[in-house]
């Protein structure tokens, strides 16, 4: 069981590494923000899989909930900031 969960964690890390292409050379700033939001959503699944691996899901679930709330608030705040910003 532990070996299978480790394999799943490696798969999730490979999937998370794909949108970094869009973070590094996205044409606009919104592409970068969108890719960062997608990475943050996938990291929640990664945290819960770590909870299964260490057999401590009670602790990692609270961390994942806090991470989800922070991801949502940061996405909304940065969207509003870049909507109101004037182009120089």
């Amino acid at each position: 069981m532990s070996g299978i969960v480790s394999f799943l964690i490696i798969l999730v890390v490979v999937i998370i590494a794909i949108p970094f292409y869009r973070v590094i050379n996205g044409p606009t700033v919104f592409d970068r923000l969108l890719a960062i939001g997608a990475i943050g959503g996938k990291v929640i699944a990664l945290i819960l899989l770590f909870g299964l691996l260490f057999d401590r899901l009670a602790m990692f679930v609270d961390i994942a909930l806090g991470y989800a709330i922070l991801n949502f608030i940061a996405g909304i705040a940065m969207a509003e900031y870049f909507r109101l910003r004037r182009e120089p």
């Binding site: 069981m1 299978i4 799943l8 798969l11 999730v12 999937i15 998370i16 794909i18 949108p19 292409y21 869009r22 044409p27 606009t28 919104f30 592409d31 923000l33 969108l34 890719a35 939001g37 997608a38 959503g41 996938k42 929640i44 699944a45 819960l48 899989l49 909870g51 299964l52 899901l57 009670a58 679930v61 609270d62 994942a64 909930l65 989800a68 709330i69 991801n71 949502f72 996405g75 909304i76 969207a79 509003e80 870049f82 909507r83 182009e87």
Partner: protein, 111 residues
């Protein structure tokens, strides 16, 4: 026996969610403009994360932690499309033109 069935169902759900997450990541990289990338980042990724969380809850069993995982799944189901929609609305107000078939592409297609 019951434990084996539970493990098989949970691992199948997690693998199905990983397929959806991989398709969402590829869509973010490959689609031609920002507004079509929001489709990949909101819908496909939300389905992938929620199915992975359901699989983790099934693997955990009938406990309080599985209930907390389901609460996190409902929260992601509510908030992830809202964040992508806010970003798309901000981009449209900022003046980014949507991509059309018979015009020059806004971003040159890269491989």
């Amino acid at each position: 026996m019951m434990q084996l069935v539970q493990d098989i169902i949970g691992l199948a759900l997690v693998l199905l969610g990983l397929v959806f997450m991989a398709l969402g990541s590829l869509g973010i990289v490959r689609l031609p403009d920002f507004f079509s990338r929001t489709h990949a980042a909101s819908k496909v990724d939300t389905v992938g994360i929620v199915v992975v969380l359901f699989g983790i809850a099934v693997l955990e069993g009938f406990t309080l932690d599985a209930g907390k995982v389901l609460v996190a799944a409902v929260f992601i189901m509510l908030t992830n499309p809202v964040a992508a929609h806010a970003l798309a609305r901000a981009a449209l107000k900022q003046g980014i033109k949507p991509w059309r078939r018979n015009q020059a592409p806004a971003t040159p297609p890269k491989d």
